[in-house]
């Protein structure tokens, strides 16, 4: 049974559109992360959180908001989507920050037209 799930798996929107990507983990982990994956750039951290209500800014946060509503749920919000945000988005969870294994979800492919 998958411990990190993401929805939707695929999303197409238009420039200026509003998009919410969802992530749920059942690992009972404190840390959750949002990454984008792009050829030539690898995995880049957008935002992360170490508990409900907590939010930390990652390395490429511009144009993204995030919210951690519970220990299980972490959302990524694109309020005015742009074509540069077309990417494959991964959510991950971990029980000990940068010292422990991160468990990744299946990814969401977002296309902004």
């Amino acid at each position: 049974e998958a411990a990190v799930t993401q929805s939707p798996r695929n999303k197409v929107t238009v420039t200026g559109g509003n998009v919410t990507l969802s992530c749920r983990q059942t690992n009972s982990h404190n840390y959750m992360y949002w990454y984008r994956q792009d050829t030539g750039h690898g995995l880049r951290l957008i935002h992360y959180s170490y508990g409900a209500g907590n939010l930390q800014i990652g390395d490429v946060p511009d144009g993204y908001k995030a919210t951690r509503t519970t220990q299980e749920d972490f959302f990524l919000l694109l309020e005015l989507a742009s074509p540069s945000q077309t990417s494959l988005y991964f959510c991950a969870s971990s029980d000990a920050g940068g010292r422990a294994e991160q468990f990744f979800g299946p990814g969401t492919r977002l296309t902004v037209l």
């Binding site: 750039h41 690898g42 995995l43 880049r44 991964f90 294994e101």
Partner: protein, 112 residues
């Protein structure tokens, strides 16, 4: 700041030949953790190897790596490449913070 360098974006090998994917890192923290993640097409990235111990060989699923703090390196090796090893490989660094710093990844393509 912390960084990870994977110089090869693409490595193409013939099946049966040895694999070596390079990873070097920069950090001021002496107790860094280094990771290799593997990402197969249409799957999620997952952990392959992890180490924080200097000069100790770590092995998993036929792959091995040794953390060398003196040269800030954590190269991934395998004695004989298989077709099924074709994937994207990420080296990652965990140091003082609560996040990992990933390299840009090396795509390994193994041909018959």
């Amino acid at each position: 700041g912390d960084s990870v360098t994977q110089k090869e974006g693409l490595v193409t090998l013939t099946e049966g030949l040895p694999v070596m994917l390079n990873c070097t890192y920069q950090t001021i923290y002496s107790n860094a953790f280094l990771f290799w993640y593997v990402h197969y097409l249409n799957e999620s990235p997952r952990l392959l190897l992890k180490s924080s111990t200097d000069n100790k060989r770590t092995e998993h699923q036929g792959f091995h790596a040794t953390l060398h703090k003196s040269s800030s390196s954590f190269h991934l090796q395998k004695s004989s490449a298989q077709l099924s090893d074709s994937a994207l490989y990420y080296c990652a660094l965990g140091s003082s913070g609560n996040k990992l710093i990933f390299g840009i990844g090396t795509l390994l393509s193994v041909k018959p």
